[in-house]
Structures are given as structure tokens and as C-alpha cells.
């Protein structure tokens, strides 16, 4: 009888330790994933002025659009918190998409190697941001699910684990079809 009691205590102890460690590991991975997104965003902020400088000479009639991109960039850089950042990013995406669409009208631009290189850089940075966010959201979903399902919810409540915030795409972005940034080969 005493062995059974010890056995039960042992099993519960193992479960406590592994669940607690699992939750903590997930929380740290979420923090890391969030920083990864920041790294990519920073790289994009650095690339945008380069692109604008390069295409400025060719696109004399689109100065307004170019100006909008620059403004959206500074707004996105200044934004705080997940919600506000998402809105500013959305603006930036739209204005960048517009530039890439307009570039289709300038055959000289499509032949310029610098522009092509920059375009590939921006495309991959955009994708990296998307995928880094996707990974972040996958982790957060896993973390939040673990905190809410039985029996790990008891432990999460006792040790004060808080659900993390998902990065949500803006409603407008969902409705707009995705713009393919790469030029057709």
C-alpha cells in the first residue's frame, strides 16, 4: 500500500516538473521569436531608403507614392506594442506594394541590376517577417493552449503563467489579395 502512495507521489512530481519546464521553455522561445521579428523589421527599415533612392531617378511622376512609403516607414519605426505596430506595418506594406506595381510600367527599372537585387532583398525580408510572425503565433497558440487545457491549467494558474498576445493581421490585409513582389521572369 505504501508503495502505491509513493508511486503516485513520484508520478505527480515528475508531471509537475516536466509541465513547469515545458511552459517555461515555451515562454522563453516566444520571447526569442519576438526578437527575431524585430531583427527582420530593422533590416527592412534599412532597405527601404535604399530602394527609394535607387528608383527615384526613374519614377519622376510617382514622387507622392515614394513620399508615402518614407512616411509609413517612420511611423512603423516609432510605433509601440503589437496592435499599433500591426497597423503601421499594414500601411507600409500597402504603399510598398503600390511601388512594386508601378515599377512594372518602367522597363528601364526592370533591367537595372541594383533594383533587381534590392527587390529580391525586400521580398525575402518581407517573407522572413511573415514566417517569423507565423512561427511566433504557432508558439503562442501552443503556449496558451497548454495554459487552458486540463490538467496543465491548474499548474499554470498556480505559478502565474499569463497567456501571450497573438500577432493579428489587420482585417484590411486579409481582404486584399497578396501582391507578388517578384517580377515575372
Amino acid at each position: 500500500m505504501i508503495f502505491v502512495i509513493w508511486g503516485v507521489i513520484f508520478v505527480i512530481g515528475i508531471w509537475l516538473i516536466s509541465t513547469y519546464n515545458g511552459l517555461t521553455a515555451l515562454r522563453l522561445r516566444i520571447q526569442n521569436a519576438w526578437r527575431q521579428i524585430d531583427v527582420q523589421l530593422k533590416r527592412r527599415y534599412d532597405l527601404i531608403p535604399n530602394l527609394v533612392e535607387t528608383v527615384k531617378g526613374y519614377m519622376q511622376h510617382e514622387q507622392d507614392t515614394l513620399q508615402k512609403v518614407i512616411e509609413a516607414r517612420s511611423q512603423a519605426m516609432a510605433s509601440k506594442g503589437a496592435k499599433q505596430a500591426a497597423e503601421a506595418e499594414n500601411m507600409l506594406n500597402q504603399s510598398l506594394g503600390k511601388i512594386f506595381l508601378l515599377m512594372e510600367n518602367y522597363p528601364d527599372l526592370k533591367a537595372n541590376k541594383n533594383v533587381l537585387d534590392l527587390q529580391e532583398e525586400l521580398t525575402t525580408t518581407e517573407n522572413q517577417i511573415t514566417f517569423a510572425r507565423q512561427y511566433y503565433n504557432d508558439l503562442v497558440t501552443q503556449y496558451n493552449t497548454k495554459q487552458q487545457v486540463f490538467p496543465s491549467n491548474m499548474l499554470a494558474g498556480f505559478f502565474g503563467f499569463k497567456p501571450s498576445e497573438l500577432f493579428e493581421a489587420a482585417e484590411a490585409e486579409k481582404a486584399v489579395p497578396r501582391v507578388n513582389l517578384s517580377l515575372s521572369r
Binding site: 529580391e120 514566417f131 512561427y135
Partner: protein, 308 residues
């Protein structure tokens, strides 16, 4: 991995029992063949673990990327994207200068994994499709298939050698006399098993490989959230139909699509299904399209969760 070492252990003890009278008073004090085959298995496993990736890459003539070439840089970027999407470390990237469109992942664990793509694949596929293929390979790395597959290609050779050894012993007169003293009901099935072990090992490896391909396709869909890219890539590669000459039967299961392209692979029959290293392309494409369309697939579920 454990299955393969157990397999070796089994062959070794069987040979001991049949030819050396081990486990009886008259036999030698050590089960020689068991120890021999176990150490052989350990050695090959260690080789595969520490150098398998390099052996395979150099045997295929893989080269490092040249980041000045736009196509190579694009490939490098795509691999970076997929590493981010799967939350794994950036693998090393190689190309093989060959017109046959194909790709493979190798190495022993996530930290020293390598992805290798042929130049034929880069010219044939657009960005979205290449992304699907790279996601498939990254998913092999994440699922820890690469160690398994590298081990399989090295162990397949090892089992064939051992079984050959066991079979040859049967014909020598000394062991023939020893055999006659044993119960025929025990040793005849054992002998048949030894004779068939290369085939069994092969079937086992192929079965594992086929299941892993489906799993990696599903993983690719999860990472890109775009099963159509991979499906289109498979369609294009199927239509290009070109054998990859540097691949051998020992390395065929490492690749994205079967590089040998024996006709047996394209049929969906039961026998063809048992012998093929890859599932039929048509079935892979159909499954991917189903992921893109039907709401009950795993991909769709994870997307719904994210939006909520």
C-alpha cells in the same frame, strides 16, 4: 535506429546458434558472431553519425553557394525564410551542377544539417515552388529524418554483407554436420530469415522512407501555409522527367523525388508500393491539393487556430 541495431543483434545471435554452438556447454565461451555484428553495427552507426552527411555530399559532387550569383542568393534567402518558419537553425546550403531537378537534406542533427539542391531545380521552378521544395527538406531536418535516412543508406550495405556471410557458412561441411544435430523446425526458418534479411531490411527502409516523405510534405505545407507551391513543383518535376545520374540505389531514398525513376515507382499497385523508395508522385500531389482545399486537413486547422 534501434530497430537496425536489434536487427544486427538478431542476425549475429542466429549465426552463433547455428554455426558455433554458442549458448551450450560445448560451444566457445564468447558468442563471436554476435559481438562481431554488434561492433560492426556500432561502427557504421558512428561513421554515419559523425561523417555521413559529408560522405554523401562529396559523393554527389555538391558545392557551396556562390552568393554573387542571383539564383544562389535567392536560394540562400529562401532557406533562411524556411529556417525562420520552422524555428530551426540555419542549415548549410549546397548546389549540385546537374540539369535533373532534385533536392536532398542530410547531416546528423539540426545543428549540422545541410540542404542540397540541383541547378536544374533552380532554373525549372519559380520562387514559390522552390520555397515548397526547401520547406519539404527543412521539414525532413525538423522531423529528424536526416539521421535516420543517412544511417539507412550506410546500414543497408552492412546488413547485406553480414547476411552473405551467414549464408555462405551453410554450405561448408563442418557446419552442415553441426546443423544436423539441431531441431530442423528451429533452424530451417532461421536460415530462411538470414537469407531474406537484405530484402527485409530493404523493405523496412523503403516503408520508413515513404511514410517520411508524406510527413515532410505535410510539414512543408504547415511551414509555407501554401501547399499549392509544393504541388506545382511536383507537377513540374514530374513533367520534366529526367534521371539523376550521380544517385545510386543506396542514396535514392534521400532525395526529394526518386532520382532513379524506375517505372515501378509511378504505379500505385501493392507490389510496386512495397518496393518503391518514394510514394507515387500523383498521390503526393493529390494529398497536397486536398490540404489546400478541404477544411478538415491539419493545415487548415492550424490556420483557423491562429486567426482565432
Amino acid at each position: 535506429m534501434a530497430i537496425f541495431i536489434l536487427f544486427f543483434l538478431f542476425i549475429g545471435t542466429t549465426i552463433d546458434y547455428l554455426y558455433f554452438d554458442a549458448f551450450t556447454a560445448a560451444g566457445p565461451t564468447f558468442p563471436i558472431a554476435t559481438i562481431f555484428s554488434l561492433s560492426f553495427a556500432t561502427l557504421t552507426t558512428l561513421t554515419a553519425y559523425y561523417g555521413g552527411g559529408e560522405i554523401i555530399l562529396s559523393s554527389l559532387g555538391a558545392e557551396k553557394l556562390n552568393l554573387r550569383i542571383p539564383e544562389h542568393r535567392e536560394l540562400h534567402n529562401i532557406v533562411t525564410e524556411m529556417a525562420l518558419a520552422s524555428g530551426s537553425a540555419m542549415p548549410r546550403v549546397y548546389v549540385i551542377f546537374d540539369p535533373a531537378p532534385n533536392a536532398l537534406a542530410t547531416g546528423s542533427n539540426e545543428k549540422n544539417a545541410a540542404i542540397c539542391v540541383t541547378t536544374g531545380l533552380l532554373t525549372l521552378l519559380d520562387r514559390e515552388e522552390t520555397q515548397g521544395v526547401v520547406a519539404h527538406e527543412v521539414s525532413h531536418i525538423r522531423n529528424e529524418d536526416i539521421l535516420l535516412m543517412t544511417l539507412v543508406s550506410i546500414l543497408l550495405g552492412g546488413i547485406a554483407i553480414l547476411a552473405d556471410w551467414g549464408r555462405r557458412g551453410f554450405y561448408s561441411s563442418r557446419s552442415g554436420r553441426q546443423l544436423s544435430k539441431k531441431n530442423p523446425l528451429v533452424f530451417i526458418p532461421l536460415l530462411i530469415l538470414i537469407a531474406l534479411s537484405p530484402l527485409i531490411a530493404r523493405l523496412l527502409a523503403m516503408a520508413v522512407s515513404r511514410q517520411r516523405e508524406y510527413l515532410a510534405d505535410a510539414g512543408a505545407a504547415q511551414y509555407t501555409r501554401n501547399p499549392r507551391g509544393l504541388a506545382h513543383a511536383l507537377e513540374k518535376i514530374r513533367d520534366a522527367s529526367m534521371p539523376f545520374h550521380k544517385a545510386t540505389r543506396g542514396t535514392a531514398h534521400l532525395f526529394f523525388v526518386n532520382p532513379l525513376r524506375r517505372r515501378v515507382n509511378d504505379r500505385d499497385g501493392r507490389l510496386a508500393g512495397l518496393l518503391a523508395s518514394h510514394p507515387p508522385i500523383a498521390r503526393r500531389i493529390a494529398l497536397l491539393y486536398r490540404m489546400a482545399g478541404l477544411p478538415q486537413s491539419a493545415v487548415q486547422r492550424s490556420r483557423v487556430q491562429m486567426v482565432q
